[in-house]
């Protein structure tokens, strides 16, 4: 596909332009009832340290037992992202931090569950998925006193282990993203998929979806440049701003003849910049080794195929279906919003009830999807409304008013409501009379209109609308006036 603004994004240098190269690493919390390796609830927002147990706290002698449902959700993610699901192993990633109870994180290393997939953006760009692996979350630290909420310089630290051991899938995208818009689309599309397959609620604001961006710049066609990893991206908007800022920062460095240092950088939403967090030389040596407390995980073909067969239609396929049925563009706003809010089935139901799906799409988008509300009107009522509209029995304006009433009542017969409101399609004869009266009443406006002042038509149309008590179709009135003018 082409023609969208996400296609090109070049940053000018003194001597030719640069492109940005972005790869995203996304952590999502899985929507399981319990933790990855223990029976404590996986629940956000409760009193600190109420969802803990010997495994969660890393007490001596406690052992992990893998949560089957977490594996299944991780497999759903892999299959939805076109990955190969394979026999895999768990490793220990060793480092000290107060909110990590065992001083190692159980993760997957050289043989992850899902490998080699892809995600297609709504604009048609295909972004490679390197891997999507299972791992456990850490606890959450709150540093009291000091500055900036960092551990260094704080007076004390509070730790909540409710999040420790919550199952995560880390989805590592390939560096195939070239514009801030593609980065935003990637995260939005990924989130839509994760929600659709029931793997996660994927809320960036609550931290159930966390995005880190690897950003580098290069002359188009050159080898990959040195990358920096950007952390603390708390919204899709931040992501777009941060990758653009970072790419421009790197171009400025290159233009100034300096080298890019590989490092981890922190996005500051306040000043709109990225700041050095740690350089590559300071990186931990994680001393990965095979987790001896777990056995290799081999899902087996039967389980994989069962999970694959149980996947619901994905957002892209649903958009295509809705677009084909309604005639609206698949990456247009109406289709995007309606599928995103899960209301495409309702639109199609209106069609099945004999209504006009194209009109239904617009109504559902405006009355429900944009408000974030769930459709409550019986599909048959909306179908009847669109049928009247298409037949010219209601103008677009009238249809909206009728729909508003149906929505307010949770249903209703549009014909009856239209009658109550006095909305009857006016015959041309009645309209002609009203137009005559309007011209007679406002000769100055008519003269201006005849002299080519198109704006003057508004006063005349307004008069007709008033005389018809809003029942006239504004477009039809304008057409009549233009015809008279000749």
């Amino acid at each position: 596909m082409s023609g969208t603004s996400s296609d090109t994004f070049l940053i000018d240098g003194a001597d030719g332009s640069y492109e940005m190269v972005v790869g995203l690493e996304v952590h999502v919390e899985l929507a399981t009832a319990t933790k990855l390796f223990s029976g404590s609830p996986n629940r956000f927002g409760d009193e600190p340290n109420t969802h803990i147990d010997p495994v969660t706290l890393g007490l001596p002698g406690a052992l992990p037992v893998l949560n089957r449902h977490a594996v299944e959700l991780a497999m759903r993610i892999g299959l939805a992202l076109n990955c190969t699901v394979q026999p895999c192993t768990f490793h220990r990633k060793n480092y000290f931090y107060p909110d990590m109870p065992k001083a190692y994180q159980i993760s997957q290393y050289d043989v992850p569950l899902n490998v080699d997939g892809w995600l297609d953006l709504p604009d048609g760009t295909r972004i490679g998925i390197e891997r999507a692996h299972l791992e456990e979350d850490t606890g959450k630290s709150t540093h009291v006193g000091g500055s900036g909420g960092r551990i260094h310089g704080s007076a004390s630290s509070l730790i909540d282990f409710n999040r420790a051991g919550v199952p995560l899938v880390e989805i590592v995208g390939r560096p195939d993203i070239r514009t801030p818009e593609q980065a935003r689309q990637y995260v939005n599309e990924l989130r839509a998929i994760l929600v659709a397959i029931g793997a996660s609620d994927a809320k960036m604001e609550e931290g159930s979806m966390r995005v880190d961006a690897n950003v580098s710049v290069r002359r188009p066609g050159d080898e990959l440049g040195t990358r920096c990893e950007i952390k603390n991206l708390n919204s899709v908007r931040s992501l777009g701003r941060a990758v653009e800022y970072e790419a421009r920062r790197q171009v400025a460095l290159v233009e100034a003849g300096e080298r890019i240092r590989q490092e981890t950088r922190h996005w500051d939403e306040g000043d709109g910049r990225t700041h050095t967090l740690r350089s590559k030389e300071d990186a931990d040596d994680y001393r990965y080794f095979l987790e001896p407390d777990l056995v290799p995980l081999d899902p087996g073909d039967e389980w994989i195929e069962t999970v694959r067969a149980g996947l619901p239609p994905l957002p892209a396929a649903r958009r295509t279906a809705l677009a084909e049925t309604t005639g609206a563009p698949a990456d247009g706003e109406a289709v995007m919003v309606v599928v995103d809010r899960d209301q495409d089935a309702y639109v199609l139901a209106v069609g099945e009830a004999g209504g006009d799906v194209a009109r239904a799409l617009v109504h559902v988008k405006e009355a429900y999807a944009e408000q974030g509300a769930e459709p409550t009107v019986p599909a048959a009522d909306l179908a009847a409304l669109t049928t009247m509209e298409v037949a010219g029995e209601l103008t677009a304006t009238q249809a909206k008013q009728v729909l508003a009433e149906i929505v307010a009542n949770g249903g209703g017969d549009p014909a009856a409501i239209a009658r109550d409101k006095g909305f009857e399609a006016m015959d041309t004869g009645a309209l002609e009379v009203m137009v005559d009266e309007a011209i007679a009443a406002q000769p100055a406006a008519w003269e201006k209109f005849c002299n080519g002042e198109d704006k003057a038509v508004g006063a005349l149309v307004g008069a007709v609308m008033k005389a018809s008590q809003g029942q006239a179709d504004g477009k039809a009135v304008t057409a009549l006036l233009r015809a008279r003018r000749g």
Binding site: P54, G61, K102
Partner: protein, 497 residues
Amino acid sequence: MTAHDVPTTAIDIAAAVRAGIVSASDVVERHLAAIDAHERDVHAFNRVLADQARAAAAAIDAAVAAGDDPGPLAGVPVALKDNLCTRGVPTTCSSKILDGWRPPYDATVVTRLAAAGAIAVGKTNLDEFAMGSSTENSAFGPTRNPHDVERVPGGSSGGSAAAVAAGFAPVGLGSDTGGSIRQPAALCGVVGVKPTYGLVSRYGLVAFASSLDQVGPFTHTVADAAAVLEIIGGHDPMDSTSIPEPVPDLSALLDDGVDGLRVGRITDLPTGADPDVVERVEAAFDALAAAGATIVDVEVPAFTYGLTAYYLIAPAEASSNLARYDGVRYGLRVDAPDTNAMYMATRHEGFGAEVKRRIMLGTYALSAGYYDAYYGKALKVRRLIADDFARAYERADVLLTPASPSVAFAFGDKTDDPLAMYLCDTYTIPSNLSGHPGMSVPFGTGAHDLPIGVQVLAPALHEPTMFRVAAELERAAPPTPAPRMIDVAVGGAGSAR
């Protein structure tokens, strides 16, 4: 019923208690009396659980009085190695770092023993975090060998071995990562079993090296060991590495003899065992041959490399397992100005020298740039050992080796030379690396009239055959002398059979 009638083996005690011939309370009192009399000389325990044991005994007696079955190990006192978690009871691993920590849960083996009617009488001393072969690395002082209190009991499960040898309990539980059950069993003149990896749950065993650790029993007799293993073994859903099968029947074949079995002699076994030990192993081969077994020569070339591979793999896992002792959540915390300083002060103060040595070894072996040369290569050796054993077991049903290269040695003999201490486990380590079972059976004495143990090795899950051979050795063995510090009437290994 007088106290003199309390039997000495677990099976006899349980039978007598279940039949109402002896009360569990009498059993417990007799053993607490033995502890009272001799614990100050032996120091087998970090903590004696007298009140808890008396309460448990009263409950067993009430069950018997009510006509209920109190379980197959009813009234049997058990000494638990202090790296097995006990709910509400301090579990120290003989380390300062766990100061004040009381587990909120019982290890699976502890739960299963209690459900079978066994009674925990104490938590036994060990080398700190099970790292050592003499129990001298305990933060609470060494345990002494009941056969000669100037000598070590072996280790790391020296406390449990000594407790059984001294008659403090007819059953002890230990953990064996590289020989920590079999070597002290040999030095203390008791039976000690390291089961197949995964046969016994590790849930609640404080980890030293997770891929090697395995819980097992100390007893006076082979039959007692089989009875205990039948209780503590079998699948546990709380341990992912637990074999998803019930424990095999270990007692059924004990009287079948060894006629027709093939007993392997490893021709390329590492040398270094003392002559008195070699002599007893030869006598064991002779005894089995006389009982109808065929002695076959086998080669296990990688056996020799077991020790070096072990001292990379075990410390590597330990460096990770022991990283959690950071002063943040439980145990010792030494205050310091910031978090990193607190970590360092706590770990400096909390760990002993051997533990620190192994954490450093293991961290180094796993580090970027060294992983392939050390840890990676050790994993390859581990595979070689398993392959070599597999070939040997095509020709032999079991293998026979020394359990320990020497009899019990004197305190301080090896404390300044870690390598000499590590060599104590030459013959036991390879079966930890392969995950195979092994057990030490007392088979007479050597220098200074000290006990010597012969090790029986078998393929994975071939415990029934291993026990069958061990029972034959037990029948052929000269009597083990009674511990020298002990009142014979309390019962020691010598009166077991």
